[in-house]
Every structure is written in structure tokens, then in C-alpha cells.
Symmetry: C2
């Protein structure tokens, strides 16, 4: 039986190598490639991706998975071997349900739609994007039909990003969140003038930001032996091995927050992949378990660590030394308050910790409305604008700053947004457990000691890679299902303090 | 028939994409990758390379090539279609002769030998490297046996780098070269003190060199839209499309020559690939025709352009402005003489234009001696040292600076070295034709106008890619076979002037 297992592992390792090669071509495209290389790069990525897909959906893999049923049954659920067979089977059964032609059509449509979307956003012209959005949505409906009927069609989409999680569960979580969040934001708004983010605006030379960003992640635990940090238009984290982690960030010379918190956010993603157990390397288990849990890690380092008073009590002197001009007269507390200003705004990626989730809930609801035909795509801008007014109290001046702001739908990624807010919620829920185990964690952070936190996360989450399902993982770490209580408690404590709420 | 041609072209395009993906993984490894990524990267490169090889040696390609014989016969020899079929057939027939196991053994042995070689060179310990060199050579002998007997076994090795060129031809060319070169070098040695390279030694900050190197290639014709220039330990040029050219160079802060001439050298390689006709893109024809002709281009830009008085009459003021400290008191003529100092030395890659070829001839002869067993590998250091004394008059102090200096044999690359000297010879022979067509070329160079030279090279050489065999290409450009006359004439004129020879 171990022969079949070895063969499966060898085949999956080859698919893994090919996927990493596609990732490498993509990383280079975003960070290094001269623009002239674009057309050829698209061909190269498509060629390697196609072969990876063919190799993974090879019927031989299906036969091996069948042959390994009794082997798997004899193994402990949490053994690496059982997990490998289980996860590979789940991935395989999903992959073979989608005809190659549909897969190719979706990829092709998305690549065209992405280009049109960029132009449409540039010109703030939703009409230009509309037929491509329609095509992406139509293809997604065909994609949904490839699978057995679920409780809701949207479950199929969600499963690609948060395996095993149901729309109804997310709806319940978001309902509870919204109920608590809206009044909190309203109370903060009343005290709007209590906090100023002026210290973050000024002239912060890119070179200084680059140097500081590296010193920041180095202090958190990154090393030049295994990490890179490069500038890009849209920050992301990727990796080609647990010891080859690539982060990107952006440097706005007039606004300091983007690089500081963007870098810590991506560090959180990178650390998750970096700390996966060496035994899982070169297998499909060598990856974070879901986007939601991944985002819990990026949000934790960005917000629970990075926007804490303790962190800057340690780090602020170096930041001030790096930017003596704009920060000379800004004391630590003023800086702490500035980075925690709450202000309902138009753009999701620029939103603060409190209002961010409302941007997500709006998209989560709209996606379901689109999928069910409750909102005609041509009416999307009007509906978007009305809900922005309703949820966040802001007037959307144009579609570029409204319905066209995000890339996701142009790439056919429906069902993705929810994971961002799930990540925020989970970050606070996991943090509660960390604090229970490491009561001195705030002290550690104030002393710049991040080893205990890294080790806790490695032990409880990171090392497992994709061995367990997301909900199973949350249960293992927190002893129960996802809950909004810890996140709302965190927000209330923090902003009551920052804004002096009663 | 066009269906078969289209299918062939599609299959070859896929192989091309996979090869470029391997190249991308390699470029990143040399320039960007954190060291921790090494082991996984080797697996990724091997995985993609293996599939590229399998796809190319697929019997379906053989059947298509057979089916296309009459189609090919009906086409003009110089049509793109005929060239594609002809070149693909030659590559295919060579590739299928080598059993996959032997290919894998060679790759594996080379990858181990390369690591051992690095350590052996570090410790100057030839004994450490000896068994690995023996294994590489034994495998190469088995490789030779895969092919029909040729005039000489070494022909098989040479053919991988300089297709269609015979050992006897190279021997005759090198014989004529050596006969003329040895007395020239002896005469220069008598005037040894006439030239000083002191101006090149000093403190040249890496940042300044980096900036100057880019301005240099930008002036020669590189643009940020299609080129990159990055630092590496060992300079090289590669590309992932004609509009995505990657050069690397190195910056020695105590010695200016390496980055200046290394960068212009790699620019010559890059320009060759950049100017291949767009119609050949995404096919196996989209590549320089041979290493010798490639080197003719790098040597041309490095030496015939880059070490000319005209070039620095234009460029020296900017260089002086970039390094006002070390170059303040150095006039243009002193700089010109410094970059043209001739001095027999130990290290090939640091050799001047005159002595360089003797390093190559030594290696070319030694490789044949090894292949025929005329020199036992254990005696290689002693033979090396004796010949260095004989050819160049230098005493080799240790194997690190002797037989262990080059990476090639550790990678199993026997038959490669000759192409370096062939390139030097061809560069001058082609230059003679350029001058006949563009009599004002020296004037152009002195004015910093490189467009006419670039266009001449595009027209006569670059645009053809691999459509013609190297000897055919030389014949088309120069009207005859390779000749040492132009190269020796160039060296004699230049060094008679620089050294004031009678």
C-alpha cells in the first residue's frame, strides 16, 4: 500500500513544483518584469498552469486515491499521511468536476475582463465593464452547476476560499457583527474630532520607508536568509518554499500608513507559510488552510500587534529617528491615536479596523444578490451607492471610487471577500487564546520580543498547514466555532479608550 | 499539410514556454532568491525541465517532422517555415538519441559536481573535485557514444555549442591565431611599462557604478520598457521574450573595469536576443544561432565599441563626473590606455583582449587530451601549470587560480570554451563588414550614436535568430568562412598604437 502512497506523493510533488513555478512567473511579473515582457509572460504562465492542471486531474491520481481508501482508514486522522490523502481527494474531486473547456473559458474571460476593468476604473465607466462582468458571472453560474446542489448556490463559491464553510454560517456571523458594529461606529462618529491622523501625512521619503519596513519585519522575525520585501503597486505575499517567503508593499511618500501596516499585514501571511512543518514541505498540505485563517494572521500582525500601544512604545523611537522631519513634534500617544483613527470612507483597502467589515458585508450581500438575479448587473452602481450611504453614511461620487474599486469580480473571484472579515473576527478570537496562554504577551510586545507569539502561532496553527479543515482548525485552537464576541470586545475596548467613549 | 505544421508549431511553443519558465526560475535563483529557497528551487527547475524534455522528445513530434518532409521541400530555404522544421528536426534528432536515464545522470552528476567544485576551489583542493570530474567525463564519453561516429569524438561535444562546426576547423583557426598571437604578446611584454592601469584601481562606490552602468546601456540602446540590469556574483544575460531582456553584472568597489566592460559585454548578448524578428518569437528559432556568434556580439560591444578611443571620447566626461574622486586627475587618453593594458595573467575572465585567446586554446587542447585519455585527470593540475607557463609565461601558485578556476567542467560542459575565442575572432571579422557598409561608424560612436550599428546588426544577424547554421550565417554576413586575419589585424593596429610598437 505504501507504494501507492509514494506514487501519489511523487505525483502531487510534481504538481506542487509546477504551481510554484507559476507563482514565480507571477511574482516576477508583479515586481521585476519590464512591461515589454507581459504578453510572453501570460503565455508562459498559461502553459505551466495548464500542465499542472492536467497532471493533477490525471485519472491515475483518482485511481491511486481509490486504492488508498483502506490505507487511509487505518491511519490516525491527524497523521500527515491521512491528511495528505484526505486533502488531495477533496481537491481532486473538485478539480475533475470542472470541464477543461469551462476552466479555460473562465481563465480567458477573467484575463480579458481584468484589463477592461482597469480601463473602466481609470475612466470611471461601469458600462465598459458591464458585459465582461456579466460574462464572468454567467460562467460562474455554469461553474456552480458542475457541483452537487448545496444548501445555497453561493456555498459552492465560498468553498473555494473557505472550504467547508456555508453561506448561512457566514450570514449569521456577519449579522451579529453588523448589529454590534453599526452602533459602535455611530458613537465614534459623534466624537469624530477627538482623533487626528495629521501625523501620518507629510513627506516620508521612499528610501527611508523601505529601510524602516525591512527593520520592522526583521524585528518581527524575518531574516534575509529566507525572506524578501519588494515594492509593488498592489501589496501581496507569496512563497516558493517555507524558506523562500516574498512580501511586497508600497511606499506613498505623502502618507506613512500604507507601507507600515501593509508590510506588517503581509508579514503575517508570510509567517504562516514560513512556519509550516518541514515534513509537509513539497506537498499540497504546505499551505495555509484557508483565506480566512490566512487573513486572521495578517490582521493579527497588522492590527492586534501593529496598531497596539505596546508595539509603538517599543518601536516609535526608531520610527521617529527615521523620519525626524515630519515626526519631530509628534509624541507617541498622538501617533498611536493617529493610526487608530476611525472614519467611514469610500475605499475598502483604506478603511480602518472598525468600518472595514461593513465594506465586506456589503459585497457579501451583493454577490448573493447577483448570483440569484435579485440585482440586475446594470443596476449595480445604483445599488452599491445606496448601500454605501445606508451602511457607512458616505456619498459615492463616481464608480471608480464605488463599484469599480476592487479587482476581484473582474478576475471571476466571487465568494472571496467574506474571508477578509472572517479573518478579522478570527484574529481577535485566536488572540484571546494566545493571551490566555501568554499573559505577558503585551509586555513582550512592549519589549520587542516576538518569539513567544511566533512560537505559539507555529504550534497551534502554522505547523499544521492544510491538514485540517478551517472550521476544524478554529475548533482546535479556540475550543469552539467562530464568534464575533472577541472581535467586538476588542474594538469596543480599543475605541472607547481612543475616542473616550462613555 | 499546414495542419501538421500548425500542430508542430503549437507543440514547440509549449516547449518554448516551459524552457523560458526554467530560465525564469534560474534567473531568480541567481539574482533575487533568499538562500533558503535553494533546495526547493532545484526541485522546481528539475520538474519543469523534465516536462519540457518529455514534451520535446514526444514521438508525436517525430511523426509530425516526418509528415512535413515534402512540405518543407517545397519551401524556400530561408523561409521561416522551412527553418522552423529544419532546426526542430536537428534538435529533435539529437535529443532523442540520449536516453532519459543518461540525461538524468548527467544532470544529477553535474549538480553535485558543481557544489563540490565550489568547495574545492575555495580550498584549492583539486583532489576533492577529481572523482566528480572523472564521473562527468565518463558520462560525457557515454554521451558521445549515443551519436554516429564523427570525424573526431570531440566534434559531438562541440556541436552542442557551435552546431555543425568541426574540431579540425577550430584547431586550424586556433593554430593560425596562436602563431600570430604569441609573437605579438612577446613584443607587447617588452614594452610592459608603457601602459598603466592604475586609473582603474581606487574607490568606486557601488551605487555610482550601478547608476553609470545603467546610463551606459541606455545610451547603447537599452530601455526600461524591455530590459533589466541586476547585480550577481557571476554576470550573465538571459531573456524571457525579445522584449524582456535581463542582464546582470558585478560591482567591485576597488576596481572599475568589471562592471563597465562586463555590462557592455552582457548588453551585446542581450541586444542579439532583443532584435530577433517578432515573427520568430515564441518558436525555437527565437534564439542566437550559436555560442560563438553570440560571443561575437558581446565581444563587439565590450571591445570593438567599449574599449575604443572613439567611445570614451564621447563617454569619458560622464564617467569622470560620476567618479570625480578617483578619476579627477586622469585624462581621457590615460584612461583609454588603462583599459587596454595587456598583461598575461592567471585568470581567464580577467584576461585582456590579446592574451584571452591563449587561455581558451589551452582549455580546448586539454579537453581533447582528457577525452582521448592522453592526460590522466589526476595529472591535470601539473599539465595545466606547465602549459600556463609555456603559453602565457605565468607561474600558477595554486589550483584555485589554475585548473579549478572555471565552473564549466563541473557542469559537464566540455566543448564550450572554444566558442569564446571563436566569438572574439568573429567579432572583428563582422566588424570589418560593418565598417565597409558604415564608413562613418567611428564618427557615430564618437558622437554617441549607436542606432546605425544596432540596425546593421539586426539586419544582417540578429533578426534571423536560429534560422541558419552558424557557418552559413558567417558566410552570409562576411562572404566567407571564419578567418583570424581581421582579429589579428585589429589587435596589431590597436596595441601597436597603445604600446608604441615599431
Amino acid at each position: 500500500m505504501s507504494d501507492a502512497f509514494d506514487e501519489l506523493k511523487t505525483r502531487l510533488a510534481e504538481v506542487h513544483d509546477l504551481s510554484k513555478a507559476v507563482g514565480m512567473l507571477g511574482w516576477d511579473m508583479e515586481t521585476m518584469m519590464p512591461p515589454g515582457g507581459g504578453p510572453a509572460r501570460a503565455q508562459q504562465m498559461a502553459a505551466v498552469h495548464k500542465i499542472a492542471h492536467e497532471k493533477f486531474t490525471d485519472p491515475a491520481i483518482g485511481r491511486l486515491l481509490d486504492a488508498l481508501r483502506s490505507y487511509e482508514a487505518g491511519l490516525a486522522h491527524d497523521s500527515d499521511e491521512a491528511a495528505l490523502v484526505r486533502v488531495a481527494r477533496r481537491d481532486y474531486e473538485k478539480a475533475v468536476r470542472v470541464p477543461a473547456e469551462l476552466q479555460a473559458e473562465m481563465t480567458h474571460s477573467a484575463s480579458i475582463a481584468r484589463q477592461v476593468w482597469a480601463e473602466a476604473r481609470e475612466r470611471s465607466d461601469f458600462g465598459l465593464f458591464l458585459p465582461h462582468l456579466q460574462r464572468n458571472l454567467d460562467l460562474k453560474l455554469r461553474y456552480v452547476e458542475c457541483f452537487d446542489p448545496s444548501d445555497e448556490p453561493y456555498d459552492i463559491l465560498l468553498d473555494d476560499f473557505e472550504p467547508g464553510t456555508k453561506t448561512a454560517e457566514v450570514r449569521a456571523v456577519f449579522g451579529a457583527l453588523k448589529a454590534d458594529l453599526v452602533p459602535l461606529i455611530a458613537r465614534i462618529r459623534e466624537r469624530h474630532d477627538a482623533v487626528s491622523d495629521a501625523p501620518l501625512h507629510g513627506h516620508f521619503p521612499a528610501d527611508g520607508q523601505r529601510e524602516f519596513a525591512w527593520s520592522l519585519i526583521e524585528r518581527l522575525g524575518a531574516t534575509r536568509a529566507s525572506w524578501r520585501l519588494d515594492p509593488t503597486a498592489h501589496p501581496f505575499a507569496t512563497n516558493f518554499a517555507t524558506q523562500d517567503i516574498r512580501l511586497t508593499t508600497r511606499y506613498y511618500e505623502h502618507y506613512l500608513s500604507a507601507s507600515l501596516f501593509g508590510t506588517m499585514h503581509e508579514f503575517g501571511h508570510g509567517l504562516y507559510e514560513h512556519q509550516i512543518a518541514p515534513d509537509l514541505e513539497h506537498t499540497p498540505l504546505c499551505h495555509g488552510v484557508s483565506l480566512g485563517l490566512h487573513e486572521s494572521q495578517s490582521r493579527m500582525w497588522e492590527n492586534l500587534v501593529g496598531r497596539s500601544r505596546e508595539f509603538w512604545s517599543f518601536m516609535y523611537p526608531s520610527l521617529q529617528a527615521a523620519f525626524p522631519g515630519p515626526l519631530a513634534g509628534v509624541d507617541r500617544e498622538a501617533f498611536y491615536r493617529a493610526i487608530n483613527k476611525v472614519e467611514p470612507s469610500l475605499i475598502r483597502v483604506e478603511a480602518d479596523e472598525a468600518t472595514y467589515s461593513l465594506h465586506i458585508i456589503l459585497r457579501f450581500e451583493l454577490e448573493q444578490d447577483m448570483l440569484h438575479g435579485r440585482v440586475a448587473l446594470k443596476d449595480l452602481p445604483a445599488v452599491w451607492n445606496a448601500r454605501m450611504k445606508d451602511y457607512l453614511g458616505v456619498e459615492v461620487p463616481d464608480d471608480a471610487r464605488g463599484v469599480l474599486q476592487d479587482v476581484h469580480w473582474s478576475g471571476g473571484m466571487f465568494g472571496y471577500f467574506a474571508t477578509y472579515a472572517l479573518g478579522s473576527i478570527l484574529s481577535a478570537q485566536i488572540w484571546e487564546r494566545v493571551l490566555a496562554d501568554l499573559p505577558d504577551l503585551p509586555g513582550c510586545i512592549a519589549r520587542g520580543e516576538f518569539g513567544p507569539l511566533r512560537e505559539w502561532l507555529a504550534q497551534h496553527l502554522h505547523r499544521h498547514g492544510r491538514k485540517f479543515m478551517p472550521k476544524e482548525m478554529v475548533e482546535r485552537i479556540t475550543g469552539g466555532p467562530i464568534r464575533v464576541g472577541p472581535f467586538m470586545g476588542y474594538l469596543k475596548r480599543k475605541f472607547s479608550d481612543v475616542y473616550g467613549l462613555a
